[in-house]
């Protein structure tokens, strides 16, 4: 009787070990699928987040209000209430809880504005040209690099990225500068893929609109963590938050 019990126990351990490893092995095969949906999410032409305004936001608010997630006004402004409602909706529906209405959240709501607005756009020569992608990419870079900084420090990091775009020693596009190898630690360790906070989005817009607290600097570094000696040979100009800025 006792033997059998022990046998059973071993069998249980054995089975759990097998299932554990098989899960780990299969996890790999799942990965690419996941990242591709993430890619799609960032590629989707319409992403609604804190600060977005317009008809699409109104649609989202209507849906959330009908389902009792949201009880504010349907005003087409993505504010704090909408943000919280979206998060509640996402957690109830097993979606990634980030407060951003991307492709998957929109699908779950039964909205299809990502493709609809693309298809329905008038066939003028300006269709599809906008700054939203730049704003969001820049906001992600700012969020990854300067999350804990005061607001002006965030605008300054955005301004440095844009000053680099205009500088001959650097790539000539926002994405080129941000993704240049060995340039930003937040890109190397993946922090750039975090959903940006509303301050980062605001800072990205301010820097794109021309605000530059650094007066044209193209470098910045944190004296506590900077490992490159070379960076200290730059012309040091101003300290904003924890970062030193330079040319």
């Amino acid at each position: 009787m006792k033997k059998r019990l022990l046998n059973k126990r071993f069998l249980a351990i054995f089975l759990s070990a097998i299932s554990f490893f098989s899960i780990i092995t299969f996890y790999e095969f799942k990965k690419p699928v996941e990242s591709s949906s993430k890619y799609e999410y960032y590629q989707g032409s319409k992403v609604l987040y804190w600060g977005t305004t317009g008809q699409d936001v109104k649609d989202v608010q209507w849906k959330l209000r009908n389902w009792k997630y949201y009880n504010g006004k349907v005003d087409g402004i993505y504010g704090a209430d909408t943000y919280r409602a979206v998060r509640r909706f996402q957690s109830k529906n097993g979606l990634k809880v980030d407060g951003v209405v991307g492709l998957s959240t929109a699908r779950a709501m039964g909205l299809n504005f990502a493709t609809a607005s693309r298809g329905a756009a008038p066939a003028t020569s300006t269709a599809g040209i906008n700054r939203k992608d730049d704003v969001y990419l820049l906001a992600r870079a700012i969020h990854g690099e300067a999350r804990g900084e005061p607001y002006v420090g965030k605008v300054a990091v955005g301004a440095v990225i844009l000053n680099r775009v205009r500088h001959p020693s650097f790539p000539n596009t926002v994405a080129g500068v941000i993704y240049q190898p060995l340039a930003f630690t937040a890109v190397a360790d993946g922090q750039i893929n975090l959903a940006p906070g509303k301050d980062s989005i605001k800072a990205a817009r301010d820097s794109l609109n021309g605000w530059d607290p650094t007066y044209g600097c193209i470098y910045y570094w944190n004296p506590a963590t900077a490992t490159s000696k070379w960076i200290w040979s730059r012309k040091v100009t101003l300290k904003i938050g924890k970062h030193w800025f330079g040319i």
């Binding site: 033997k3 097998i18 003028t124 005061p150 001959p168 605001k202 609109n209 530059d212 650094t214 012309k235």
Partner: protein
């Protein structure tokens, strides 16, 4: 008892087998990623080399050629290939410090070619000086090319060895390849440091980078005086505390050297402070950001624009005219340009952010104005608007016409500005008011948030 004895080893060995299979998969996957990355870098390397070769060849052809048309074609090839090379170089896994000058060189070759193309199109011949510069550029390119060739041979050698050596040695080799890439590029980088600045008129030229502001005024302002100016700008009664930012030793090297302040209004938390800069020369407020939140939209855009205009008048900016606007996050952003007589001077630009809840000014940026504003001798237009209209496409549907100064390189030129529509899209067309040449075309992008120009 006996039965139990074989169970443990069986389980453990099974676990070991599974772990090995899993580990082997991981190992394979790692190798695949590594290969894919190495292939990508190899491609970038070969591409960069090809592009630099093409730059060199086209440059030498341009030096030989005596026809303007041929030269324009060759120079546009130079421009293209140099931008390609620069783009690919910037994607290689080398630190920015080691390729900054090389990148700058490639960008400026492209930019310089573009400005020469414009000269040619204006009917000008290459001057001797420009020929000499091209010759120097060609020399630099061929040096760069030589370094890349040497590097190429070494990389090939490394590949050949890689197939015969063990995994550990191969790792060492890869490390060596990486270092080689770095050192080779660095040696060219050093040579680049010695070459003289390119003198020409383009967006990436050193002249443009080192431009000094002309609209500051003469008076030197101490920190305390600047503090007073900052306080006054926000409103004396509102300010609780004012602190300045720590400055580095090279603060005087920035575009507009300034005192930068943290202005804390009364009854506000510390992270809601207002930030602003006051220029050390002339004591002008260069920029101001108030990060406070705006929750309600009480004001219309028209009302916000009036608030902005009122604010500018109070601060002593006269003859400013609103041009473009954007609306987001409960904030309206307005671009005001200076107006001299009936001419809109676009380079003298001030941006204002108005909170749409109470009309407060929560953002101010006059850096463009301070860089460019000065007393100008605006020439009289030599052609009539009707004559200028003839240079615009005949079916372009014009809404408004006016005179404007627009920046072109380091110069400013007087143009007729035609706003209108073509096949459902909005454009602005600039026609030189002195010689009737089409100078620039801007496309207007209208979105729900406002208007943008591209």
């Amino acid at each position: 008892m006996d039965k139990r004895r074989w169970i443990i080893p069986t389980v453990l060995s099974l676990v070991l087998v599974i772990a090995l299979v899993w580990g082997y998969n991981q190992f394979n996957q790692k190798n695949d990623y590594e290969k894919a990355l190495t292939n990508h870098y190899q491609r970038l390397f070969y591409d960069t080399k090809k592009h630099v070769e093409n730059v060199q060849v086209s440059l030498s052809k341009a030096l030989v050629s005596d026809s303007k048309e041929q030269n324009i074609l060759l120079l546009s090839q130079v421009m293209n290939e140099a931008y390609f090379a620069q783009d690919k170089l910037s994607q290689m896994p080398v630190t920015h410090a080691d390729i900054a000058k090389t990148q700058k060189f490639l960008t400026q070759v492209a930019d310089y070619s573009y400005s020469l193309i414009q000269n040619h199109l204006d009917g000008e011949e290459l001057t001797n000086k420009q020929r000499e510069t091209l010759f120097n550029l060609q020399g630099n390119t061929s040096n760069f090319n030589k370094e890349l060739s040497a590097l190429h041979d070494k990389v090939l050698e490394g590949d050949f060895n890689a197939s015969r050596t063990s995994a550990r040695e191969r790792n060492k080799l890869q490390q060596a390849n990486k270092e080689m890439l770095q050192t080779r590029l660095v040696s060219f980088e050093k040579q680049m440091g010695k070459s003289p600045e390119l003198i020409y008129d383009g967006p990436y030229s050193d002249q443009r980078l080192n431009k000094k502001p002309v609209g500051l005024g003469n008076k030197k302002v101490t920190r305390d005086e600047a503090k007073r100016i900052a306080k006054q700008f926000v409103g004396d009664k509102k300010v609780d505390k004012i602190t300045s930012f720590e400055e580095g030793k090279d603060i005087s090297k920035v575009a507009i050297p300034s005192h930068t302040f943290n202005v804390l209004p009364k009854n506000t938390s510390k992270d809601m402070a207002i930030y602003m800069g006051v220029s050390k020369q002339g004591g002008n407020v260069v920029w101001m950001v108030n990060p406070r939140r705006v929750s309600k939209n009480n004001l219309s855009m028209k009302q916000a624009e009036q608030e902005a205009a009122k604010f500018l008048k109070e601060k002593g900016f006269t003859n400013m005219e609103p041009n473009y606007s954007l609306k987001y996050d409960g904030v309206a952003v307005f671009n005001f340009a200076h107006k001299e007589g009936d001419v809109t001077v676009y380079p003298d630009l001030i941006k204002l952010k108005v909170a749409l809840d109470n009309g407060e000014i929560i953002g101010f940026d006059s850096s463009a104005y301070l860089m460019n504003h000065q007393k100008r001798d605006i020439p009289k237009p030599k052609i009539t608007p009707e004559k200028a209209r003839e240079s615009v496409k005949i079916d372009f549907d014009i809404d408004s016409t006016r005179l404007a100064m627009i920046p072109r390189g380091s110069k400013e030129i007087l143009c007729y500005e035609f706003k209108g529509k073509y096949k459902g899209s909005d454009f602005i067309i600039y026609i030189n008011a002195l010689n009737g040449k089409e100078e620039d075309i801007l496309q207007i992008i209208k979105s729900e948030n406002g208007t943008l120009t591209f």
